[in-house]
Amino acid sequence: MLYREAGDFKTSYAKDNQTFPIKFDRVGYYVALIVAFLVIPFVINDYWANAILLPFLIYAIAALGLNILVGYCGQVSLGTGGFMAVGAYASYKLMTAFPDVSIFFHVILSGGVTAIVCVLFGLPSLRIKGFYLAVATLAAQFFLVWLFNRVPWFYNYSASGQINAPERTVFGIEVTGPNAEAWATYLFSLVFLVASALIARNLTRGMAGRKWMAIRDMDIAAEIIGVSPLKAKISAFAVSGFFVGISGALFFAVYLGAAEAGDSFGITKSFLVLFMIIIGGLGSIFGSFAGAAFLVLLPVVLKVVGVDWLGWPTDIVAHLQLVIVGGLIIMFLILEPHGLAQLWRVTKQKLRLWPFPH
């Protein structure tokens, strides 16, 4: 009843091509932005920031990045953890080498560094595809973690190989280090997420995105109609690496505060982000958000329900969590292979007709 496009006339191409063509969606989008920017910072506390919102925002950026590569360009990557580590270590080196430069630029530069590394490891994609490419990126994952463990220059020769984020400010407000306020870290990450999502959305519906999708759907046909596989694949690796690098930098500097390559950026991280986009929906911006939210919130909710409400032993809850997450992934793959994003699309279709389906 509320959700329909009847009477919502478009009088220009710009209006016809907008991201949210239906008014209800558009209003919802602006309301969400207002709540995220103007309401949550005032009510947020340390627990909400560190246990739920920061991981969600940062994983959403990583999922956006991986979705561009896997979902839009069809190049399977298992190297996300390693690429996040590149972002983290790049930001650490930049933060300690240039303490006077704003952390804002460090994070963006870390994204740039990761983009370059990602392109290097993406070069084999010109020759190999599918599972073989997955194995090549898996090699990137292990190589990068090994590199950051092995070469002391990356962790400034500290005794334990840990990197620690020093205190850095944006406009005089601390966003890294232990004294950073919850709202500041939240807003800092939110700005990056919103900017990343806008860039990703506009890239994917423009020329670049169409080329990626052409390569994904059938690379030979794409080549025949004039899409250069070299440029398309390399640009997808670069853009993906940029976002993943930003998320790695934020993950280390803003969220964890201290990190270690093998522990924080291991192969499990690569799989986690891959699960996010599979559950959320491949080739969908909304799917990246939904998948990140789902996999960040689910363990916390299960823990709260199991341990705090039902009073079960922590180990049983932890084991149950693995069972439930695994079960849900299988269930999703069978019932809705296109993920939460498709579920949302179907819901919207139904809502348009509701309450008169005929």
Binding site: D46, A159, Q162, L256, E260, G262, V307, W309, T314, A318
Partner: protein
């Protein structure tokens, strides 16, 4: 989504701080590849506090509440556990993970909550002038490395010149911690040192042991944890490495680490900073008040094992500090700040240990503002496979302060410079 948010909010309201009890969060790991080592420690920690509640009615009349939170040795979960428990009146954190310790040092310091990393964590936290809220008494990794090398020197007949010593270690914060000390000691003692890392979780160590077989080191020091320990001992037995020349740190010297290798593990050594065995009165009380009453945290079958004892010891040190804090402030409901002050003035005497049913359990030591790490006393234990028992084969000896001291100074000074910390205690 909304429903999920609502349920989470409701849960957090339900978990609001319950006043007038002493809260000791236990960031434990009963799952994952390190669970074999995490479970007995968590059981010991919880059971000792349960014993105090059941037998003495808590500490100074206040009941103790141990909030357990599962970390699976994962730093992200550790941070989440910290954030979830810190507002419930947490007095002290003992994360039992060097990785999580590194995460929490700045956070706990900013929140004014003390941390005790007993025999693990950041070694340079011994320097109380820089690390105000972190304590690592009675011993740290660099002490362990020093005592271990001392023992090897004795075995080798007084000199290590020209010998080869290999450090086999977990490739993470914990395992890398002793490397600077060992490099320094290699210079002083004139032995050849190399480090072989094992990646998490360490269920596969064929290549590492192949390397050891090829290089034939005279001695192997081992910094492992969880499933890694059993595999290493088994592999050492497989390649017929002389077990008496293979020594683990105190985290690699529990029953479950050597039992799977059977007779092959006979003679394996490990450092200990407290006594072994179940021959202490406190365990009788735990059996009577906790296990037989059905209130044990685990299955109750771990009593007297090395890591269970260590959990009890950690809880005992925390309880003693809490008692001191209550006495010093004349109130039974103490704050984290009072707890911190009491830990900084903590003195463990033989009489206190005996009173708690742990006579001669660990070394006597005294914490001061400058020294948060105690005296660094450790002893060597050896596994007797036929009796299935650990035996202390040396006295508690102190580490070489002239080696460890300057390294601690340098590392803590670097941390202070990085984080603009002014020295205290002046």
């Amino acid at each position: 989504m909304k429903k999920i948010l609502v349920t989470t909010v409701a849960a957090m309201m339900a978990a609001a701080p319950a006043m007038a009890e002493l809260v000791f969060p236990s960031l434990s790991y009963r799952t994952g590849p390190f669970a074999a080592s995490g479970i007995p420690f968590a059981d010991g920690y919880a059971d000792y506090f349960t014993l105090l509640n059941e037998r003495d009615g808590g500490i100074g009349g206040e009941m103790v509440n141990v909030i357990e939170c599962e970390t699976a040795y994962n730093t992200e979960k550790g941070v989440e556990c910290y954030e979830a428990t810190k507002d419930q009146g947490a007095l002290l954190y003992q994360p039992l993970s060097t990785g999580i310790t590194y995460q929490l040092i700045p956070k706990a310091t900013a929140d004014g909550i003390p941390m005790h990393t007993m025999g693990y964590g950041r070694t340079s936290a011994k320097n109380g002038k820089v690390f105000s809220n972190v304590f690592n008494y009675p011993v740290n990794y660099w002490d362990g490395a020093s005592v271990g090398i001392k023992h090897f020197k004795e075995v080798a007949g007084g000199s290590l010149k020209g010998k080869k010593i290999t450090l086999l270690h977990f490739n993470g914060a914990y395992g890398k911690e002793p490397i600077p000390t060992l490099e320094k000691l290699a210079e002083i003692e004139g032995f050849e040192f190399n480090a072989i890392p094992i990646d998490y979780p360490g269920q596969e160590q064929k290549s590492q042991w192949l390397q050891i077989r090829r290089e034939r080191p005279d001695f192997v020091l081992f910094w492992g944890w969880g499933v890694m320990n059993q595999v290493a001992v088994q592999e050492a037995a497989n390649v017929r490495f002389p077990m008496e020349n293979f020594m683990g740190i105190w985290w690699s010297g529990a029953e479950q680490d050597v039992l799977p290798a059977g007779d092959g593990a006979n003679g394996y050594k490990a450092l200990q900073f407290h006594n072994v065995g179940s021959d202490f009165p406190v365990f009788g009380d735990i059996q009577k008040y906790v296990v037989d009453a059905g209130k044990a945290a685990g299955a109750g079958d771990q009593i007297g094992t090395v890591l269970y004892n260590r959990g009890v010891y950690a809880a005992f040190l925390a309880a003693e500090a809490a008692k001191d804090a209550q006495a010093a402030n004349g109130t039974s409901s103490i704050t984290p700040a009072m707890m911190r002050d009491a830990m900084e003035a903590l003195e463990i005497t033989g009489a206190e240990m005996a009173a708690a049913g742990l006579p001669n359990f660990g070394p006597e030591f005294k914490v001061t503002c400058e020294n948060h790490g105690g005296d660094g006393m450790a002893a060597v234990a050896q596994w007797d496979a036929s009796a299935k028992k650990w035996n202390l084969i040396s006295d508690f000896v102190a580490s070489d302060a002239s080696v460890v001291g300057p390294l601690i100074e340098a590392d803590s000074a670097a941390y202070a410079a990085e984080n603009n910390i002014e020295e205290r205690c002046n």
